[in-house]
Subunit: 545 residues, 2 copies
């Protein structure tokens, strides 16, 4: 069977746009002589649709669009993802479904059985689980159709399983000859290797070909990397879709392909690609052509500016330098070199007159001396004020530049450097920011080496460096990785770090700054545990008080 | 059987504090000659603990604390809520459980069967469902113990049911003689009447007494109102715990009590009580003694200031007036009357010098004229800057004053009037803000009538009123209520409003401003659908484009 994997980029809720994408893909699949065209999970709706699912008018519109798609099919099969309803008055009555149509009609619907509800997934909020799964005979093959999570619960592969049921084994018991899985699998570094290993184990064990189609695109903070995969009946990965772009390609289940060994790039290149793609998608889908960055002379804003140039072109990136009396000469010079290297436009305007005017006004009502921290925050906020004013007037999207280490410990100013519509590198640790910067410079200096080499500083008071307040980033990031990604706790972390005071202090900083992150811009997710939607901590709590 | 309902206010994650609360309550129950003391759902942990549940060290600490509590029991029974583990390696392996102990040991554990996963509830993220329920015989009674949601799925009461199972009916089949439900039921206006009606129907039908114990307190944005309830075997509500405060009281299942008809107050008084309580709790649990409000002379900041005074006392509320050249003389005078009426301290400082200094600096880099909206936002942001500077230096918590109507349509400035740690009235529609203000003045003017009577205005440009941009609030709120609380969509709303352009415009404003609300301070929840945790909308989406 020739299966066209149609790796498309839907817009959440834009049914007309998504419908057209599916019909266009279907046409291309027909031209490529495919027997069947398959599209990702919820491809008609966009993933994740969140509470849009709860609107009955929306569901009705999805149902209409699904039938309009089916109406346009000929004998070539078409599988796409959509929400459907069952009206049995128990549960949500809504399903996350794969719809198979041909000859002008919906011929078969398979609901999703395993409903993920962890990290960034909230699907039990919306979807009832399938009561059963069935194969569907089509053009001489017994299709076993499943949806994303359905394939992630193999009893042999996982030591711990999330679910009791295993819909894939159910389908195999029914003599499935070709497995099809339609997915929307959010990107994080390492995820692709995990997919490859898991799917390879499964198809090898069960001696069955698999077409696994993923969506591509970014939906606010979630990035979908595409890289749809096909396996032959020996557990070999034999076809891989493009990364971070749409793709349509045909997989012939009867053909002998060469096995593909590697489908990942280096950490630095892959994360860079994902951030460039995520930013581009956010701007495109919201209709922003231009972005704005406050350039401090430090590493983070330099990297964000580089990413913006890659995503939107140098003509669409504007930076503003906003020195104060604490800004070093080096910072301004380094920024100017970067501006030249990237070929972007810039402005330079001092915050000092406004800092002075504000202090002058505010001192009249403060009953106490102005504290150092107050003055530091004030400077950051006036920079935020400038940037937002510029952004409001000229219509660019302001990008925030904080990294994950800073966001974790709250080394950032609410309504100051946290101002902006998208946090580009807030899921990248500071040590990884350096790794990526060095990677960018691998064939010659783009980000000035002086920026990479100097001690990180907020430059909000004289001779300040980040390490006045924070432990060295290598150590900090080691603790943060264990605490955030590995979900370890104080004792487990201290077993490695062997410094009770430090570990306690770092965990406490992370916990205490939940209130700041709660008001942060959405952050492009590139790790298995990002701040934001997938990590839900109480602001008010007393654990480890 | 004499059951002591112990309506306590736990702190999320503070196991030592919560353990002590439970032991203190148990001691009081013994003094009151109770046979059994019951505490709310997850009373040892605090509700909702969110991702703290995912930490194995945390769960271990909970287990230790649970055994420490059990160790201290004598022959009087004690039921409290905690998380427990099953280690079967399928699912989360974690349960939301009721633990019954006496004679120094844990004697019985009942897991929760129905796991809510809608609106503000995310419990399927954390908890596996009980496989079965069992009664427990204790002092001659057959106790049927359930947890919160378990009692909310009666097949006769609900037209639509969320779950297939009904653990209460299972318990009744086992000849339960006394029903016990331990709950953490978040407050919203009307919820108490719903509880009363549902529980009354159930106990009447099943001819069984019920002790329903709720927690009290506020956990960031969620308010728990207490008001624990007891029903006799005829479906009469016979005992009600205090509202918005801790309470311990004894219910004798054999005694004849008089039925209680009413357990709600007027909308205005109850919402006011809940907001005062929510603010007080937020400050107490975070350790803030004092709060700060920017007083504009308008209705919203006046109400927030009044609420703050009720919550913390006039000596702990500081307000700042920050006039600009667009501020009316009336606004300043009205504010001064309010300040006098409430007996609070205030400062007055013009934003004009900083507005001028900023415009002066920023004009040098703007290539275009300064737009009116830019200048409006600028003013709001400089007020935010002043307030945050004052708050940083003096350690008060800054309160935001936006109402639900404004937050819905984005009639507010990000990093401006949206600055602050808690949004006190962001779940109260503007029309309800007026209702509450008039209620406050029922026995004499506290909030100046001039503030209530004048046309709402942001005073960010000459002669501005809210209705230059927005439809009249009566009409706007009507649309918003249908869209937000009733989950209606365009066609359904327009059937009532009969103004396509207006309805379309309002819904579009709500959808478009998701990015602003995404960065908003947590808002005390008093309605059945508040912005924030319980309402999850995509920022980037194309429905109704």
């Amino acid at each position: 069977m020739k299966i066209a994997l149609c790796q498309i980029d839907p817009i959440i809720g834009n049914l007309e746009y998504n419908k057209q994408k599916i019909l266009d893909g279907y046409k291309k699949a027909i031209e490529a002589k495919a027997d069947l065209a398959i599209f990702p999970e919820l491809s008609l709706v966009g993933y994740p649709p969140l509470d849009l699912v709860e609107k009955s008018e929306f569901r009705k519109a999805v149902n209409n669009a699904a039938h309009e798609i089916a109406n346009q099919t000929n004998s070539v099969g078409l599988i796409f993802g959509a929400i459907t309803e069952d009206f049995d008055n128990v549960g949500t009555d809504i399903h996350n479904s794969a719809i198979l149509c041909f000859d002008g009609e919906i011929q078969f619907v398979q609901h999703k059985t395993l409903i993920p509800n962890y990290d960034v997934f909230d699907e039990m909020r919306y979807f009832d689980s399938a009561e059963s799964v069935s194969i569907f005979e089509f053009k001489g093959e017994k299709l076993g159709i499943s949806i994303c999570e359905d394939i992630w619960n193999d009893a042999d592969y996982w030591y711990r399983r999330r679910y009791h049921k295993d819909p894939i084994q159910e389908l195999l018991k029914q003599k499935t000859s070709v497995l099809i899985n339609i997915s929307a699998s959010p990107y994080s570094y390492g995820k692709r290797a995990a997919r490859k290993e898991m799917l390879s184990t499964l198809t090898k064990k069960d001696k069955i070909p698999l077409a696994y189609v993923c969506c591509v695109g970014a939906q606010t903070d979630l990035i979908f990397d595409g890289a749809s995969m096909c396996y032959d009946g020996n557990g070999n990965l034999v076809k891989v879709g493009k990364s971070f772009e749409e793709d349509i390609f045909v997989f012939d289940t009867k053909e002998n392909y060469k096995a593909i060994e590697k489908c990942e790039e280096s950490f630095e290149q892959e994360v860079l690609n994902s951030l460039v793609f995520g930013l581009k998608e956010y701007c495109t889908k919201l209709g922003f052509k231009k972005v704005l960055v406050g350039l401090s002379g430090g590493m983070d804003s330099a990297l964000v500016t580089y990413i913006a140039v890659q995503a939107l072109g140098s003509e669409n990136v504007h930076v503003i330098l906003m020195p104060s009396k604490y800004s070093s000469e080096g910072s301004v010079n380094d920024s100017e070199v970067l501006i030249k290297n990237l070929g972007i436009n810039s402005d330079n305007v001092s915050i000092q007159p406004v800092v002075d005017a504000t202090l002058n006004q505010i001192k009249s009502i403060l009953k106490t001396e102005v504290k150092s921290l107050t003055e530091e925050n004030l400077q950051a906020r006036i920079r935020g004020l400038y940037l937002m004013t510029y952004s409001n007037n000229n219509g660019q999207l302001l990008l925030t530049t904080g990294n994950k280490s800073e966001m974790a410990v709250g080394y950032c100013t609410l309504y100051g450097d946290m101002c902006g519509g998208l946090a580009v590198i807030a899921d990248v640790y500071k040590t990884d920011v350096y790794r990526i910067a060095n990677h960018i410079n691998r064939d010659g200096e783009i980000i000035p080496k002086t920026i990479i080499d100097k001690a990180p500083s907020a430059e909000l008071k004289p001779n300040q460096t980040d390490q006045d307040t924070l432990p060295p980033y290598e150590l900090l990031d080691k603790i943060l990785r264990m605490y955030l990604e590995e979900n370890k706790e104080f004792n487990e972390i201290n077993d490695v770090i062997d410094n009770q005071d430090l570990v306690k202090r770092v965990l406490r900083m992370v916990d205490m700054n939940e209130f700041k992150r709660n008001q942060a811009a959405p952050a492009l997710r590139v790790s298995s545990k990002a701040f934001g939607y997938g990590r839900r901590y109480p602001i008010v709590q007393g654990w480890r008080k």
